[in-house]
């Protein structure tokens, strides 16, 4: 049955995302909060995260491009990005932010630039994967199935 196959694919894919560290238990928490009265909760939060992150990454790029780098400002942006990625369970993005803040503290421009590059990469990766996962979910729902959930990562 098609729904079965879709659900298996979905579970496999989800498991992979957790194992590779793209997502952590906080993402499972988001899924737990989704129900019939809020069927799009995960999609909504993840969309906010995408918007927020793109804005922050843009601001960071501009800030690091200045003659006189304002590390306080950069730290504030990274703090925000760290917070939002942590809130949705985007673990790898969060981890780069932690390193990023350390370079800010040290006022190390090179280090910051490297982190910016890295955080952009991690962001794009998790974005791609979350979008793929959401598409799988939508297919399951369209086929009349229920979205299975991994509880081992809660």
């Amino acid at each position: 049955m098609e729904v079965d196959q879709l659900q298996r694919s979905f579970l496999e894919y989800s498991r992979l995302l957790f194992h590779e560290g793209f997502l952590d238990g906080q993402f499972s928490q988001l899924q737990l909060l989704q129900d019939e009265s809020n069927p799009d909760f995960v999609f909504e939060v993840v969309s906010l995260f995408f918007e927020d992150s793109e804005r922050l990454l843009n601001d960071l790029t501009i800030a690091l491009d200045q003659q006189n780098v304002d590390f306080k400002k950069i730290d504030a942006h990274v703090h925000q990005l760290k917070g939002s990625s942590s809130s949705i369970g985007a673990q790898r993005v969060k981890n780069v932010c932690i390193a990023f803040r350390n370079f800010c503290d040290e006022q190390n421009v090179e280090g910051c630039l490297r982190c910016l590059q890295q955080v952009k990469q991690e962001y794009l990766l998790v974005k791609t994967k979350l979008e793929a996962q959401l598409r799988l979910e939508q297919q399951i729902v369209a086929a009349g199935g229920a979205i299975p959930m991994l509880n081992e990562f809660c």
Partner: protein, 222 residues
């Protein structure tokens, strides 16, 4: 039937400058059957709570000592009943700590329990907040299990109401009983009428729990 519980719903004011975190905390609180209002700053929180700073008394900064009540407008009163304030620590302008302090200094706000959230695990920060009167310090990201810890704090301050209004006690007890029964049912998964929407996953797959499309444990709907 579930709507009867709405009378006894606790109202939580959540304060956070992050939109994502506001959305998350709102969902967490609503899932736990709380009524929620979210604001994005400490000053908006105070505004919502009905706190007004009286500008006239501001001229003597030197003599502003222990009591801030002199500077609070006589028309201060709590316009909306709030049973708990949960606030982020790191916010631009007024921090969560500043908000906590202002509330504890106010004669009519100091009895509202305050919980602080922070992404940073800084012991000195935590102690400072607890010493200032915060009930609890929660590390972000906030989870359902954290929100479950909030109810006792709200019930504690409700008890003060009960003492003052004993005739309401029985009604409140019944409503709270309904709420706690539904909540304990939420943790187990019933298998009755949702078979067409839920899938059992025991055909060779690992013991993964299926998240039901229908959550028939929804007690409240705001």
């Amino acid at each position: 039937m579930g709507m009867a519980a709405a009378d006894a719903q606790f109202h939580v004011l959540a304060v956070d400058d992050s939109l994502i975190d506001r959305k998350l905390i709102e969902r967490l609180l609503k899932t736990s059957s709380f009524q929620v209002t979210t604001v994005d700053s400490g000053s908006k929180a105070l505004e919502f709570l009905g706190w007004h700073h009286d500008e006239e008394d501001d001229d003597d900064d030197d003599e502003r000592s222990n009591s801030n009540e002199v500077f609070v407008s006589p028309k201060n009163h709590q316009e909306v009943e709030v049973n708990l304030v949960i606030t982020d620590y790191c916010m631009p302008g007024m921090t969560g700590y500043d908000l906590l302090k202002k509330m504890k200094e106010s004669s009519f706000l100091r009895n509202i329990p305050v919980v602080i959230m922070s992404s940073e695990n800084v012991p000195s920060r935590i102690n400072r907040c607890l010493e200032e009167g915060a009930e609890e310090f929660i590390l972000k990201p906030v989870r359902l299990s954290d929100v479950n810890k909030l109810r006792p704090h709200m019930m504690k301050s409700k008890c003060k109401d009960i003492i003052q209004n004993p005739q309401n006690q029985e009604k409140q007890d019944n409503n709270e009983l309904i709420q706690s029964q539904s909540q304990s049912q939420q943790t187990s998964q019933p298998n009755n009428n949702t078979s067409n929407k839920r899938k059992s996953m025991d055909e060779g797959l690992s013991p993964d729990r299926t998240r039901p499309r229908y959550n028939d444990m929804t007690v409240m709907s705001n």
